[in-house]
């Protein structure tokens, strides 16, 4: 073989190798629940380290945003911290002729955050509902100091917002709830404000204290722990879901199977959530 041909061959081989290496990259897009962002990123990080040919792109935005992205085809997996709504299923049926695939991938106790120096450490669901709907506005009404309650919450596109509204507030939030993007921001705000209250995923509770939650006035207050969420004694627990428009195949299926495997579920525990099995 001539030297010039050899060079050409080597050059083409390099081009093809580089080209093929790009074409064999498998990309999975995950979008949705802000509560699940840390967990999802952890899953993606570990999975990508084990499978270098796979690229997993994780973004938040809220459960509603994720499901909307699934419906408009801009994401493969929608993370949601609430179950899909009947209206969203109807849209899946209309557009994709499927009813969608629901995969519960972790359990979460929705924590109520209080500042560490707040005298109050226990509230019933009714009291929480009254606080967030604006019926109770002073800590002294629930056994605390004579100080105005400052409310922090999530945006309306958040699954956490919807879950909390449906299961705790059971109506409209008070107009003075300050909305923040993500549970981490809420925890940060509550940690700096003695007379504030917030809610969000249990995995984020650092620098604040978890409030014991009572199912009703007569019940005993329960902290969100692995045991209380598993045995359902903690009253504000929920599943975290992944939604797909149709049965996963190829690398997406492998990624989901891995998430549900003991290895994937171990990361659930490490991130502060609770495994589904």
């Amino acid at each position: 073989m001539k030297k010039s041909n050899l060079k050409l061959f080597a050059f083409l081989a390099v081009i093809m190798t580089v080209g093929l290496s790009f074409t064999t990259l498998k990309k999975i897009t995950v979008k949705g629940s802000d509560t699940m962002v840390i967990l999802s990123q952890k899953w993606a990080e570990v999975y990508m380290a084990k499978h270098p040919g796979t690229v997993i792109q994780v973004t938040g935005g809220g459960s509603g945003v994720g499901l909307a992205a699934l419906l408009n085809g801009s994401t493969e997996i929608a993370n949601a911290s609430r179950p899909i709504k009947p209206a969203e299923v109807q849209k899946l049926k209309a557009k994709f002729k499927t009813q969608g695939i629901e995969i519960p991938c972790a359990k979460d106790g929705l924590s109520v955050f209080l500042n560490k120096s707040n005298k109050v450490s226990e509230l019933s669901i009714q009291q929480l509902g009254d606080i967030y709907s604006g019926k109770v506005t002073n800590w002294k009404e629930v056994g605390g100091d004579d100080a105005k309650i400052r409310l922090y919450g999530r945006e309306s596109s958040s699954g956490t917002f919807e879950f909390f509204r449906e299961h705790v507030v059971k109506g409209d939030f008070a107009a003075n709830v300050q909305t923040l993007p993500g549970t981490a921001a809420i925890v940060n705000a509550v940690s700096k404000d003695k007379y504030s209250i917030g809610y969000g995923g249990a995995a984020y509770a650092e620098g604040v204290k978890d409030c014991k939650v009572k199912k009703d006035a007569k019940s005993k207050g329960v902290l969100p722990t692995a045991a209380t969420i598993k045995n359902k004694t903690y009253p504000i627990a929920r599943y975290l879901y992944m939604y797909l428009k149709s049965k996963p195949t190829g690398e997406t299926k492998a990624f989901i199977d891995w998430i549900l495997s003991p290895e994937g579920q171990k990361l659930v525990v490490e991130t502060g959530y609770f495994p589904v099995k």
Binding site: K97, Q99, I101, K170
Partner: protein, 445 residues
């Protein structure tokens, strides 16, 4: 000499040291001054920025209030612009197309089928106001206008008051999502213009109770879509019509299968609100003549079943069907006339459809529908004396291409095949050529 030199050096050394001490003192003093100045400037800057931030916060709060209010209003809508070709011939082959005003016939046209904007205002949780006008070349008509109250305690019940879709599957399945150019002849005839005015109670047990059951119950004027628009603004006969529907969804996630089963009924009347002189004679379900009096109520009772199957097979597939039968009545009275049931008659009617839709890849969809409507089940073949009593078997083939989530192109071809009769007019001795091709561009937002 050495002593003098030593003394001199010592003096110089002391002088230098003294100078350094002086310099240090001066330097220290100037650094302190600098630090104080800088701190003052920094404080001023912080104060300035704090004031600016407070100003921004105030402005942001005002803007947030406006944005929060605006976020309660949702605007959506769609436009369907299309080109149609009508393969319609007179029996003697003399005229091609469908008649328009006067004697002209048209066999193709551009047409704006829909131009709708839907406004939804949600002032508080659980309350929706919906307003949907339809813009046409010559008029603007009101399609949806209702208040929806959702129960906030059980998340199960919702009450609708105003003008809204009648509760059947094909009607509630939006025109913007539909895979065929038009609804079936059965639905278009039995539920003209889809909507009616009244009150509707819905119960969806899926969210709170995790039971995939939906119930709908409606009390309606019963005359919407009939007669002149002005007559549709209010009830024309005092009598209210009732509708009820139930749908249960089965899910088989491991098989990627979902099946919805349902049934509905329509219980109403066509009241004879006027008689002519000489009297108008009607025809009953057995095709016998009778003369109703003013105030007589002619039966309008329908019973239907439905099924929708969704199968996660190579990108999604749906198989849908509805079957409706019952007794239906119509009148030529201009205040009540249904243009697709335009005769003074009471008839036993029957119809059904089956549609198959398959997604092909991510952007293509092919569809096939077979629909049948018999406006008079008591007569067939040559026994049919008027074209209005002829049974129709319609085939529709369609293809849709989705540019993105907002824009799609549809090509739809409908082949109506009529029942043949020697006594229903020359056009219907054999199958009338009346196929329609539609090429539609739809944009939604």
């Amino acid at each position: 000499m050495k002593k003098i030199l030593f003394t001199g050096l010592l003096f110089v050394s002391c002088l230098i040291n003294a100078q350094e001490v002086t310099n240090d003192t001066v330097k220290s003093n100037s650094v302190d001054t600098l630090k104080t100045d800088e701190l003052t400037r920094l404080k001023e800057s912080v104060d300035d920025h704090s004031m600016k931030l407070a100003g921004y916060e105030e402005r942001f709060s005002a803007l947030e209030t406006v944005v929060n209010e605006l976020s309660k209003i949702k605007v959506s809508g769609y436009i369907q612009a299309q080109y149609e070709m009508y393969d319609s011939w007179a029996s003697d082959g003399s005229q091609h197309g469908i008649p328009v005003t006067g004697s002209a016939y048209e066999d193709n046209s551009f047409y704006i089928r829909r131009a709708r904007i839907k406004f939804t205002y949600k002032p508080i949780d659980g309350v929706n106001f919906v307003l949907q006008p339809n813009f046409e070349v010559h008029q603007v008509t009101l399609k949806d206008a209702f208040v929806q109250l959702n129960d906030r305690w059980l998340n199960t019940f919702s009450l609708w008051v105003g003008q809204f879709n009648r509760p059947t599957y094909e009607i509630e399945y939006s025109s913007a999502s539909r895979e065929f150019a038009e609804r079936t002849l059965m639905t278009r005839t039995l539920y003209p213009t889809e909507r009616d005015q009244g009150v509707k109670l819905e119960a969806d047990f899926a969210t709170k109770f995790e039971i995939p059951l939906k119930l709908q119950f409606a009390v309606l004027n019963g005359n919407f879509g009939e007669g002149a628009l002005a007559n549709q603004a209010k009830d024309v006969d005092n009598g209210k019509d009732l509708m009820a529907r139930a749908v249960y969804s089965f899910k088989f996630p491991s098989k990627g299968l979902g099946i919805d089963f349902g049934a509905h009924t329509y219980l109403g009347n066509t009241t004879v609100i006027a008689q002519t002189s000489p009297v108008t004679v009607f025809s009953d379900v057995n095709n016998n003549s009778f003369t109703p009096n003013v105030g007589d109520k002619l039966k309008k009772e329908l019973f239907g079943t439905e099924m929708q199957l969704y199968y996660d097979f190579l990108g999604g597939l749906s198989l849908k069907g509805e079957y409706i039968r019952g007794t239906y009545s119509g009148t030529t009275n201009t205040a009540q006339v249904n243009t697709l049931f335009n005769a003074n008659k009471v008839r036993n009617v029957e119809g059904y459809y089956l549609s198959l839709v398959k997604n092909v890849g991510k952007v293509n969809e092919v569809s096939l529908r077979y629909d049948v409507f018999d406006p008079n089940t008591k007569l067939s073949g040559d026994g049919v004396k008027t074209k209005d009593d002829l049974k129709y078997y319609n085939w529709t083939f369609a293809w849709q291409y989705y540019f993105n989530d907002y824009i799609k192109v549809m090509a739809s071809y409908t082949l109506p095949v009529n029942e043949k009769s020697l006594n229903a007019g020359a056009d219907y001795i054999k199958d009338k050529h009346d196929n329609i091709f539609t090429l539609r561009l739809q944009a939604r937002f």
